[in-house]
């Protein structure tokens, strides 16, 4: 079946080129990336060569859209058995290279007041950057978390969506009949959230084993759905409803196994991706006040799960061979997420974007690492020079409850309409379990060369 998919992709790409002039709009991108880790103890990453192909049929009531990505992913450190080249949304760990993945693949039919889409889709609900709290329909790929921009993190979901429009009103309804899990990096990879635990074994020849998660069975009961009612005007606003599995990851502690296997130490950390249904009701709005472009959103979630402090999971302080049952590490609580963002043009070609958002865990026990109120401040300063031939981005994020910080600087130079080169440096600070501190060995400089057509 998967070989048939691949054959169909190759055939389609060939056909796209042949008929592009008459029937299709085809564009694409080749992206060569190299990463220089700045910490000697951090996991290295090989260079990556990634491609992107977008195909759209010319405008008509019936339309086809495809966004295919693929290539060699240098962040993948181990070949994983039985993982296919074409990534399907059927596994939590899909670290494989080379790979192909449909970010989007859908057909649509539209009239003046109705649009129906069927296929693999990504949605963008809510108004905030980075963590739009009403944007819950697509699970995220955490395999290069915080390195990838928000839209690159989203995994396309097979879905049926409709939009009814009338005047300044619109109503979106989305049904995702098939469960698609979020994606995590393997525990030995650069962006693994378990890096701190892995580091305890750094001096030993350790082989980390990862058990794939117990994914909910694929039936209608495991699907998800959402409704969004929007109005545009002096204030653009929307009301959102979501019901389905929480797209944010939570790990269930089972048992830690440390055993000698073929002259090595095999370690199964016993932290398995877990999935829980939740419901969310939210509001978002955007408006302009003087020179400020403002946006805000809030969502109340019923039945979310949070992990307890890692220190309470039951991992031994000094690892030795054996089986260690781990303590229950999940806690269920309702939560309220809200935030506000603002854009301000400092001067021509210089845009300052700021955002503050907060999560309130309404029933928080002391066992959680997260505080009752968790805040993140984001700021981004984007500056263009020489008619936007040179673009700089300075980005900072701060989590005051734990003192976590992320700082990122990027410079890109547009060589021509096709070629662009960029350099990005990123650094993390904070305690080991904090959102940013858990990646503090991931300080890095990244160089990109992009060809797009």
């Amino acid at each position: 079946m998967k070989k048939l998919w691949l054959a169909a992709v190759v055939l389609f790409c060939w056909a796209s080129g042949s008929y592009a002039e008459d029937f299709l709009n085809v564009s694409g991108k080749l992206h060569l990336r190299g990463v220089v880790p700045l910490h000697s103890e951090s996991v290295m990453e090989y260079p990556s060569l990634l491609g992107q192909l977008k195909v759209d049929t010319k405008p008509s009531p019936l339309r086809f859209h495809m966004w295919l990505e693929g290539g060699w992913d240098g962040s993948v450190t181990l070949p994983v058995e039985d993982h296919s080249t074409l990534k399907f949304g059927d596994r939590v760990y899909q670290s494989t290279t080379p790979f192909l993945e449909f970010k989007e693949l859908y057909g649509s039919y539209s009239t003046d007041w109705l649009e129906v889409r069927a296929g693999i889709q990504r949605f963008a609900w809510g108004r905030l950057d980075e963590y739009p709290v009403n944007d819950l329909l697509n699970p995220w790929d955490y395999s290069q978390f915080l390195r990838k921009p928000l839209e690159d993190r989203k995994i396309g979901v097979p879905s049926l969506s409709t939009r009814l429009s009338h005047d300044t009103w619109s109503l979106d309804a989305v049904w995702v009949p098939v469960f698609i899990p979020y994606r995590l990096p393997l525990s030995t990879e650069r962006w693994s959230p378990l890096n701190q635990m892995v580091s305890r074994f750094n001096n030993l020849p350790v082989n980390f084993l990862t058990s794939d998660a117990d994914i909910p069975s694929r039936n209608l009961a495991s699907g998800a759905g959402g409704l969004r009612l929007s109005k545009t005007g002096v204030v653009d606003w929307s009301v959102n409803l979501f019901h389905g599995y929480d797209p944010r990851p939570v790990l269930k502690a089972t048992r830690l196994i440390i055993a000698p296997v073929a002259g090595q130490v095999a370690v199964e950390p016993g932290a398995v991706a877990d999935f829980h249904k939740m419901s969310s009701f939210g509001l978002d709005a955007a408006f302009v006040k003087g020179p400020w472009s403002l946006r805000a959103e809030a969502a109340y979630a019923v039945g979310r799960y949070f992990n307890t402090n890692l220190e309470r999971w039951g991992y031994p302080a000094v690892p030795a061979f054996g089986v260690y049952p781990l303590a229950p590490n999940e806690h269920k609580s309702d939560s309220l997420d809200y935030g506000i963002g603002a854009d301000y043009r400092v001067f021509e070609d210089c845009l300052l974007t700021m955002q503050a958002q907060q999560t309130v865990i309404l029933d928080r026990p002391d066992s959680l690492y997260q505080q009752k109120f968790e805040t993140i401040f984001w700021a981004n300063l984007r500056n263009g020079f020489l008619n936007q031939r040179i673009i700089t981005n300075l980005n900072a994020a701060y989590n005051p409850e734990h003192g976590g910080v992320m700082a990122r600087g990027n410079v890109s130079y547009v060589l021509s309409d096709y070629w662009k080169v960029g350099v990005t440096a990123v650094g993390f600070w904070g305690p080991e379990q904090s959102l940013f501190g858990r990646y503090k060995t991931n300080d890095q400089v990244e160089v990109d060369l992009v060809f797009s057509w």
Partner: protein, 258 residues
């Protein structure tokens, strides 16, 4: 009064009328321009935009602009970039409730998000070009400006009124001087000033009549300070279009005008 004197007075009056009619005020000239721009609102334009930097390097963009006279709203404009790849489907939408009150949105497909643009940004660079957002929007609200006819001059062999226009509301320029082609009522040349300093210089050439409407097919804007200039060449323009309101929605903006 003798018959001869009456006849002489009538003759003098007859000769003076055209001269008086010709001495139009700045406001009257702009009312004429406003009428022409209103008639140009129902249109679709396909154009190529070339950005030249001081060193001679250039970047080429293609775009499609749709607009609509949207009474009782003033107008609606949708502009979509078709190329290069990093700008493809990036778009800009304007809804003018009145000629002085409008909402602006921009869409960035990479982020799949629409952002509102404050109207205070209307004089800012339009996607890195030397034109401004305002240059791609509809006609202005005449009550927001003061007009003064400076002189008459010829531009590209066309007789023009030279009019100084000063905004009564805060703008990023203090005044502009425009050369308005007589009888066609479109701009042939424009100079924008900050205080007394010239900072933007525009020229609108290759004026052709399309569906009876005078249309410049080459529009050039230069930033005098930086030396950058942008040339927009109209490849195809259609007037008297009647696009549905659905084309000027955020949904259409997200879909690249489709």
């Amino acid at each position: 009064m003798t018959d001869k004197r009456i006849l002489l007075l009538l003759l003098a009056a007859f000769l003076l009328v055209p001269a008086l009619a010709d001495a139009m005020s700045g406001r009257e000239i702009f009312e004429k321009m406003h009428e022409v721009r209103l008639r140009m609102l129902n249109q679709k334009t396909e154009a190529t935009m070339v950005l030249y930097d001081r060193g001679g390097g250039k970047r080429i963009r293609t775009l499609t602009q749709y607009s609509k006279n949207a009474a009782p709203e003033a107008y609606k404009v949708l502009l979509i970039f078709n190329s290069p790849a990093d700008l493809k489907n990036v778009g800009f939408l304007a809804h003018a409730r009145t000629f002085s009150d409008r909402s602006l949105w921009a869409y960035f497909p990479e982020f799949k998000r629409i952002r509102r643009i404050p109207t205070s940004a209307q004089d800012d660079s339009f996607f890195g070009s030397d034109f401004s957002y305002d240059d791609f929007s509809g006609p202005p609200n005449l009550d927001d400006y003061a007009f003064k006819v400076l002189r008459e001059e010829t531009v590209d062999d066309r007789p023009c009124y030279v009019v100084e226009v000063s905004p009564k509301i805060p703008r990023k320029y203090s005044k502009y001087i425009t050369w308005v082609v007589k009888n066609l009522w479109i701009t042939a040349k424009v100079e924008f000033y900050r205080e007394k300093e010239l900072y933007r210089l525009g020229a609108f050439r290759d004026i052709r009549l399309v569906d009876g409407l005078p249309t410049p097919f080459t529009l050039e804007m230069q930033n005098v300070k930086s030396g950058h200039r942008t040339v927009v060449t109209v490849n195809k323009v259609s007037y008297r279009t009647s696009f549905p309101d659905e084309l000027f929605t955020q949904r259409a903006l997200e879909r690249g005008g489709r």
